[in-house]
């Protein structure tokens, strides 16, 4: 039996506008710098001030894939946090609070009260604003973790401000630490830095996706803000001068998608991203990318819908929508990253697929991916490759792309469906990229005869056969399917909770084999059918009401799925929830 890892689960709660996420991320950064692994979960309402915000951080000596339900330490920056979250604490769990906010008598006796005068100490150190820092110091104090890493994080965080700001924060943290140690010198979780741990980066899904796009040679990013995709726009804008990317905040998502098509038609690696609502506005131009055979990448980071829905929460209910979006039929690829390693890798690969197939590629994520940071092995740039497919960017149009009378055929009929793509600017590359059906040259009026329509439609759809040979295959985790007691099937960010669930089940002697459908379209029917026929029982876990992945399995594999687990309350799955469902069905 492997040694049980040391783990700490801490929740920080308070009012929106208190800087809870920033404080939490600084804490996470301190642990990762010290060689530990982290996963965080931020919950916040759709407003800027007031309302309840909270940040959950899981720290471990081993890799962590998701959040979990129990909490060891609750940091209450207001009274409401205690009321809302005390029941999550394990017996003996600590409550760090300011006695000026509420009396210790309100804390249930099964818990450990750790009073720290947050406001007074912050004020003494230089300002009330440092309340969060006092609380972080208190937390590190009770778990016996050196303050030096937090000090370094604070100095990095405030590097651009007056030097005394960082030092005052360090003082505040020290005060909180001392008070908490005095109140709770024997807490049951103790953490220490790990010497020589492998290099980890701390990124959320949007940062991972942004880095994947930059590594792929992105030249144009256009978007309209929409939660949870907005931070990709910020990330790109922050790096546009450094890397030579044109970043455009557009008047709407319609413009963003059309601009991306224009940029991509000019040969630039171009991308947009939004939530499902913004993607709705993009759909007509998304289809235009399909019929005009333009290589674009679209991020769809979903949240609970329909319409405005729950803006800051998560759901996996746009799977069918992105697979089918647009009138008419054309080939597309939909990739669903499960974590921040996937998000980087699938994004740079998406650009290659778009170029190789000359068709749109979607990265399907969700708020759970976008908003939350996970310690992740540092990205290895030597693994990134650029494949632009049949692209001619300079010189003259090659002979094989010409008609008998020497004209460039942008949409020439080929066996694999891919035509040579000579960019505007190439000698002889007069052409017509077209949203109309068209002939081999691109003429819309010549696209109306039935034989032309049939041949161009079939040419495009042939690209799906090529796509099947290029797209990332499903990924497997946990027990080998042949030895498993149960198979768990999922897509996207359910990967994290499912992997954690498999670990928990293993400790209880249950072998779970996991299959992540990475490319959700074209659907890997053969692999999924093989999995379903190998494992004794299958549990399909997806974050929607109607069973969208289940429907795809039935449609593509002609096989039933024995058991399902759905969630559609705006919250991500927890591993405990999956474990409970497995126990129920076995």
């Amino acid at each position: 039996m492997p040694e049980t890892p040391t783990e700490l689960r801490v929740r920080i709660g308070g009012e929106a506008g208190f800087g809870i996420k920033a404080a939490g991320q600084m804490l996470a950064r301190s642990f990762v710098d010290a060689g530990l692994e982290t996963f965080d979960l931020t919950e916040y309402p759709s407003l800027i001030r007031g309302g309840h915000n909270n940040y959950l951080l899981r720290v471990s000596t081993e890799p962590v894939y998701s959040h979990v339900e129990p909490v060891d330490v609750l940091i209450c920056l207001n009274h409401e946090t205690l009321e809302m979250h005390h029941m999550e604490l394990v017996d003996g769990g600590a409550v760090i609070f300011d006695p000026a906010d509420f009396p210790a008598t309100e804390i249930p006796s099964r818990l450990r009260a750790v009073p720290v005068p947050l406001t007074d100490m912050a004020r003494d150190a230089g300002g009330k604003i440092m309340r969060n820092t006092v609380a972080l110091g208190a937390l590190l104090g009770i778990v016996g973790f050196p303050l030096t890493f937090l000090g370094d994080s604070l100095r990095t965080q405030f590097a651009k401000k007056a030097p005394e700001i960082a030092e005052n924060n360090v003082k505040a943290a020290q005060a909180g630490c001392d008070a908490a140690v005095a109140a709770c010198p024997d807490f049951f979780v103790q953490l220490a830095p790990i010497e020589g741990a492998p290099k980890r980066i701390l990124v959320d899904g949007n940062e991972a996706l942004g880095m994947g796009a930059l590594a792929a040679g992105l030249g144009f990013y256009a978007a309209y803000p929409m939660t949870p995709a907005s931070s990709i726009l910020h990330f790109m804008a922050a790096h546009e001068r450094e890397y030579g990317v044109v970043v455009k905040h557009t008047e709407d998502e319609i413009a963003a998608m059309n601009m991306v098509v224009g940029a991509a038609f000019g040969g630039t690696r171009a991308m947009t991203a939004s939530a499902g609502g913004g993607f709705a506005l993009m759909v007509e131009a998304f289809g235009m990318a399909g019929v005009s055979e333009t290589a674009v990448v679209v991020g769809v980071l979903t949240r609970p819908g329909p319409a405005t829905g729950l803006p800051t929460w998560t759901e996996q209910s746009d799977l069918r929508y992105v697979i089918h979006a647009s009138q008419g039929e054309f080939p597309r690829v939909v990739l669903a990253p499960g974590d921040r390693e996937d998000a980087f890798e699938l994004t740079w690969k998406a650009f290659n697929l778009a170029d190789q197939l000359q068709t749109p590629v979607i990265i399907l994520g969700d708020s759970y991916l976008s908003d939350n940071r996970q310690s992740t092995p540092a990205y290895d740039l030597s693994k990134v490759s650029v494949d632009r497919g049949k692209l001619v960017a300079e010189g003259s149009v090659p002979a094989e792309a010409l008609s008998e009378d020497g004209r460039y055929l942008r949409y020439k009929l080929t066996d694999d469906g891919i035509s040579i793509r000579a960019l505007p600017g190439v000698k002889g590359a007069n052409q017509l990229g077209n949203s109309y059906e068209h002939d081999e040259y691109g003429f819309g009026s010549a696209g109306e005869p039935a034989p032309v329509r049939i041949s161009q439609n079939e040419k495009r759809m042939r690209k799906l056969d090529l796509a099947r040979t290029l797209v990332p295959p499903p990924a497997f985790f946990g027990a080998p399917p042949e030895e498993a007691d149960i198979g768990i099937l999922f897509f996207g960010t359910t990967k994290g909770p499912a992997r954690e669930a498999a670990r928990m089940l293993e400790r209880e002697g249950v072998k779970a084999a996991l299959m992540q459908v990475v490319t959700v379209f074209p659907f890997p029917a053969e692999e999924v059918a093989g999995f379903l026929q190998t494992v004794p029982n299958t549990l399909l876990v997806e974050g929607n009401f109607t069973g969208q992945l289940e429907g795809l399995v039935r449609q593509e594999c002609l096989l039933p799925v024995q058991y399902t687990l759905h969630r559609y309350d705006g919250r991500p799955f927890t591993p405990e929830q999956i474990v409970a469902r497995v126990k129920e069905v076995l």
Binding site: F265, T268, A285, N430, Q431, L432
Partner: protein, 296 residues
């Protein structure tokens, strides 16, 4: 550098005989020839409508986009391909109606490109419904009781929104139109050219002869200063009149309403746009500094 004849495809235009699009087609081909634009540097984008059928008639590097969305496609090209001269063609319903949002924002961005609006004050391709520039009280199949809205004032909106080149022309005066095209294409910044282009099939009011009786050239006005934005706006308002007005009661100015030279274009604000942006994807980009900033 293509001649006007070389800019024609073998396919002959399918517009209705007498359509105003023919004059625009000829004037633009001649303007391009006279400016001596190399084929590899010329990029045209069309929206959807009768004007957009022209996409098949030009022998150029082109993209035929969606209804109302030609401007953002052209913007994507203009902001990533500094080596291309981008000319966009749109209709009145296409550019001022469904694409109205892009029109306003493209004007205020001052992107260096040329936007030509085929304004026939009617929806031609969808058989004669009212357009955003149909005149007040005009009766059409979609407005049998007459159009209730005021028409869009494309020149006035452009001038008010900070456009750096705003012109109106008439498809019945090809030499004048050609000269306006040449100035618009040479203008550094966003050039708006609204062209009255009578629809001989569906618009029985605003006909060629109706326009001939009313248009006059701005350059013939004594003391008109096309660098005065306020005067340009005032002049744009003079176009609007009662549907049944007599020729001498409603004169329509054509020519350059406003021009600001040496303005700051959107591209001027993009120092990173120093080459075609596809050149960034010749090999993987080294982003190790960014990875390091996240702890790697």
């Amino acid at each position: 550098m293509p001649t006007a004849a070389e800019l024609e495809q073998a396919m002959k235009p399918t517009w209705c005989p007498g359509c105003g699009n023919f004059g625009m087609y000829r004037a633009l081909k001649e303007a391009i020839e006279e400016l001596g634009l190399p084929a590899e540097e010329l990029m045209m984008v069309w929206g959807i409508g009768c004007h957009g059928n022209g996409a098949d008639f030009y022998n150029v590097q082109g993209f035929h986009g969606l209804h109302g969305r030609a401007l953002p496609v052209a913007t994507g090209l203009a902001l990533t391909r500094p080596d291309l001269k981008v000319i966009v063609e749109m209709g009145d319903g296409d550019g001022y109606g469904i694409g109205g949002n892009h029109f306003i924002h493209s004007v205020r961005r001052n992107i260096d490109m040329t936007a030509i609006f085929h304004n026939n004050q009617i929806y031609g391709l969808t058989t004669g419904q009212a357009s955003p520039t149909s005149e007040h009280f005009m009766k059409t199949p979609s407005t049998p009781g007459g159009v209730v809205e005021e028409p869009v004032n494309p020149v006035g909106v452009s001038v008010a929104q900070g456009a750096t080149f705003v012109a109106r022309a008439f498809a019945g005066d090809i030499p004048h139109l050609k000269e306006i095209y040449k100035r618009a294409i040479q203008h550094e910044g966003f050039a708006v050219v609204d062209v009255y282009q009578p629809c001989v099939t569906w618009n029985k009011i605003n006909t060629f002869s109706w326009f001939r009786d009313r248009v006059y050239k701005i350059e013939e006005l004594p003391d008109y200063d096309p660098t005065d934005r306020t005067k340009a706006f005032d002049l744009s308002m003079s176009t609007f009149h009662e549907l049944t007005c007599a020729p001498d009661e409603c004169k329509i100015p054509i020519g350059v309403f406003f021009e600001e030279q040496g303005s700051f274009t959107y591209q001027d604000g993009l120092p990173q746009l120093d080459r075609p942006m596809w050149k960034h994807a010749e090999k993987p980009r080294d982003i190790s500094a960014t990875i390091a900033a996240f702890g790697g």
